[in-house]
Structure formats: C-alpha cells, structure tokens
C-alpha cells in the first residue's frame, strides 16, 4: 500500500470485477417500516441503510416553524456497529455535515409551500457501511419520501465518482475510497438534470471533473430506475393488500 505500488485494476477491471463505469449491485425496498409514514431499505454494495420519513407534522420545538412553508429536517446517523472500529453513539462533525448537505440535496424537490407550519422529518440510519453511505442515504430517503406521499417535483438520486490509479471511475468501493485520489459525491434530479449536491475531496483536473460528472449522471439515471421500480412494486403490493 506504499505510494504508487497499490494498483486498483487487473485486466482492465476493478478489484471487485467492475468496469470503470459500473455501479455496485443495488437492492431497494419501499415501505418496510410500520410506524413511519414512509420508509425504504436500501443495499448498495456493502452499504445497508434504512430511511424513514415522518410528516408533514407539527413542529417541535414550536419556534422553529415557518409560517409560509414546511421545514425539512434530515438526520443521518451511523449505528455503532456499522463500521469496523466501533463508533461512539451520537452525532459527530462528519454526520452533522452529511445531514446538512443531504437535506439541501432534497429540499428543492419538496413542495414545501403546501404545508406551512409543519415539519417533514427524514431519518437515515446506516446499519452497515461501505464507501458511499451519504449517497445510499439520499437514495433511500428519496424513496421513503415518495412512499410517505410527500408531493415532490421529482425523485432525488445520488452516486459518486472518483479517481483511482489516474482513472476516473464510477461509484468507489471502500478500498478505492481509502486509497484513491479523489471522491466526488453527486446528487441530482434525474427528471430535470439539475445537480442538488456536489462535494469534492482529492485532486482532479477540470477535464477529469467533467468526465466524472458524465459518469455520475449516467449512474444516477440507472439508480433512478431502481427507485421507481421499488415504488411501483410497493404500490402494487398495497393494491393487492386492499383487494
């Protein structure tokens, strides 16, 4: 793992056998929790996350409410046992930042004006973490929000691109993230093509950045399809249950 020696490609494929523009396997299930208004369980590579949405509901504490629109709150949390070295319970600086950028990634699609003085609360729990938990959380939260019946302009979808061994690739796994040269999580509204989150760590040229954005957008489009499928399946099950 000394500088330059570590190599992330073998016969043109990545350590886990993927192509440069290939996502890790995903599994999305909507409506998995009984008490939440909407929920989603999502696996993406080694990530396992649960998202729940409550609301629109009364705001506590009261003085936080907004008279013209709903407030959106987003809490990203890692379970103590979701990482190799046990994490102390409670929010740390990393999860505070992720909660903020994730909320901002989702806020613009919510029709907040319809629910003044209320709160829409999104909770994301990471049960098992691989690289890319914030993207997995946003993807799950987006499905949970739709499952809760919150009116939205579109789903929000997220994935990351990065750079390893000088190559721009889609969706870093944990080892690639730890020893790679850059990591760029992106969120967007596939329906409109607008970007709603972007962060960057590491080193990239402007051209590499543009190349990576293309990969990320294509990745988001694929995930978007799976989000839609999960919601359709949930809806059909609900219909069946009613019969």
């Amino acid at each position: 793992m000394a500088d330059g020696v570590y190599t992330f490609f073998k016969d043109g494929l990545r350590l886990d056998g993927r192509r440069k523009d290939e996502l890790r396997p995903l599994k999305i299930e909507a409506g998995v929790l009984k008490r939440a208004d909407g929920s989603c369980y999502l696996e993406h590579g080694g990530n396992k996350v649960m998202a729940a949405v409550y609301g629109p509901r009364e705001v506590h504490p009261r003085h936080l409410h907004n008279v013209t629109q709903a407030i959106v709150r987003y809490k990203y949390n890692m379970a103590s046992f979701s990482v190799d070295e046990r994490k102390r319970p409670g929010p740390d600086r990393r999860s505070i930042e992720i909660s903020k950028v994730s909320r901002e990634a989702m806020e613009s699609v919510v029709l907040k004006e319809r629910f003044p003085r209320t709160a829409i609360d999104v909770f994301v729990e990471v049960l098992q973490s691989d690289a890319g938990t914030r993207a997995a959380g946003i993807n799950a939260a987006s499905v949970a929000m739709a499952d809760a019946g919150i009116p939205m302009k579109g789903l929000v979808t997220s994935c990351a691109f990065g750079k390893i061994d000088g190559e721009v690739v889609l969706d870093l796994c944990k080892e690639e993230d730890n020893y790679g040269e850059a990591d760029v999580p992106v969120a967007m509204i596939p329906r409109t093509g607008d970007i709603t989150m972007i962060q960057m760590d590491g080193h990239l040229t402007f051209d590499e950045f543009k190349e990576g954005m293309k990969l990320a957008i294509r990745g988001c489009d694929q995930i978007y399809e799976l989000q839609r499928e999960a919601l359709i399946e949930k809806h059909q099950n609900d219909l069946k249950a009613k019969e």
Binding site: R35, A36, K75, A79, F81, V83, E125
Partner: protein, 269 residues
C-alpha cells in the same frame, strides 16, 4: 407509559370490553406472542448481529469487541457495555438526543439480563490480568416501535451473542476467531397488567393503555435472573407471582423455539 389523550381513552375502553371475553385487539390469546423472527449474522462489520422482529417491532443488535482495560475491582473478567437508542426513525414519539430514561432503563435491564444470568463466561475473556480484557459492546438499535421493544432487544442481544466470533485475528491474539463462551441463555418476557389480567408481549397501543408492565428474565434451568416492574401502576402480590410463573414458562418456550436452533448451528454449552 400511560397517556391521557383521547385516542388512548378510546383504545382503553375497547380493550376493557374485549378483556371481558379474554380477548385482544388482534385476536391473540392473553399469553400469546406475536410472530417472532430472528436473522443473525446479517451485519458484517459487527462481530455478531441479529435483526429481530416481534409483530410490528423491529430491532437491530450489533456486537463489537475490542481489547481494553478491565474494571479495577474485577481485574480478570471481560467487560460488557450495553447501549440502546430509541432513535426517532422508529416511532413518531421518539426524539433525537442522548438516551432518555426509557432507553437507559431498557439498556440496563437487557444488560443485567446478560450479566446476572452469567450468560457469558467472562473469566475466559481475560487477556492479561489487570491490564487487558475483551470489551463486549452490545449496541441496540430500534428500527420500528410496534411495542415490547424490550423483549425484542433482549432476544436480539442473546441471539447476536450466540453467533459472535471473537476477533482474535484482527488483534493478532490467536490464529483463529472463536465463538464467545456462552454458558446460559436468558430470555426476557414482558407483559402488561390490565384489570387483573396479564397480557404477554403487548403491542404499542396496549403499552400506552396499561400503567403496569413487568419483565421477567429467566434461565435455562427455570430460575430467575432478572425482573423489572415499569410504569406507575401498582400490582398485587398474587398477580406478581402469577406473572413470574408465566414469564418463566413463556421464556422456556421462546428459548426452545428460537434460540436452541441457533445453537445447533454453533454447538456448545
């Protein structure tokens, strides 16, 4: 537990009516559990894990282990640290922030269940006397609060422990990882008291209506290893003794049906 809003009043009336015929809202017998499922080993970053559902309740338990310092007064035994979070994902009534009194009590009852039952042979977890022992973190994460989270958490804890591998290799302490030295299997059985009746495994509506809840923890040989009354309601001695008997009996059933099978996979004891 008891709450005074109108909905609770309506549920209370309904439950009282049903109880006249010894019935419950979902058709169960008074001493009947909802459907139970236990999945172990699903969370791969943990040394042991279990996801338990009881009816609408769902709890994830992860076990993490690492070498650390023993307590000064017990220099030659491993250390158990149990933590529970009633995260707001699981219920509209749970709030963010550090664990409140309900979460603290739940964690401590589960912890005493494991500790006092001597479920784990902690002497075998001493690495260097007075200096280094295994720390066992039992982290309980509520995912869906459909009532009786305590039994789900307790069941998750023992199921996760039964399937935990000591991470010897990670810390260069032995050639192979090995199972935890489990020597007993405590089971917690909770029930509420309503109008002189004991209702096992209450759902969250039954819990809201009742003002007395009891948890009975028992071992493989039918002895008691823990007990806790919760809620502000009183209970008669007669009913308390009935509850203890009932708790021991239901504990035995759960142990045989759900926990012995896990041990078949990892034969020991």
């Amino acid at each position: 537990m008891s709450d005074n809003d109108i909905l609770t009043e309506i549920y209370r009336d309904q439950m009282y009516n049903l109880l006249q015929r010894q019935e419950r809202g979902d058709g169960r017998a008074l001493d009947e559990y909802r459907e139970i499922s236990i999945e172990t080993g699903v969370l791969e970053r943990a040394e042991g894990s279990a996801i338990v559902t009881i009816g609408d309740s769902k709890v994830a338990v992860g076990i993490k282990m690492q070498p650390g310092e023993p307590f000064p007064d017990t220099p030659d035994v491993g250390v158990i640290i149990t933590n529970a979070e009633l995260i707001p994902l699981a219920s509209p009534t749970f709030e963010s922030g550090p664990p409140g009194e309900v979460a603290v009590e739940l964690a401590r009852v589960v912890d005493r269940g494991v500790r006092e039952s001597k479920a784990i042979d902690l002497k075998k977890l001493c690495l260097v006397e007075g200096e280094k022992v295994w720390l066992i973190f039992i982290d309980i994460h509520m995912l869906d609060h459909g009532g009786n989270l305590l039994d789900a958490a307790s069941l998750g804890a023992i199921a996760a422990l039964l399937t935990t591998k000591i991470p010897n290799k990670q810390y260069d302490l032995a050639e192979e990882d090995e199972p935890l030295p489990i020597v007993d299997i405590p089971v917690a059985v909770s029930m509420i008291e309503l109008e002189g009746n004991l209702l096992v495994d209450p759902d969250h509506i039954e819990e809201a209506v009742a003002s007395t809840q009891l948890t009975i923890i028992s071992n493989r040989d039918g002895t008691l290893s823990g007990m806790q009354k919760m809620g502000s309601g009183p209970i008669s001695l007669e009913l308390l003794e009935k509850a203890v008997e009932l708790g021991i009996r239901k504990g035995q059933e759960i142990r045989e049906k759900y926990l012995y099978p896990l041990m078949n996979e990892i034969p020991r004891l």
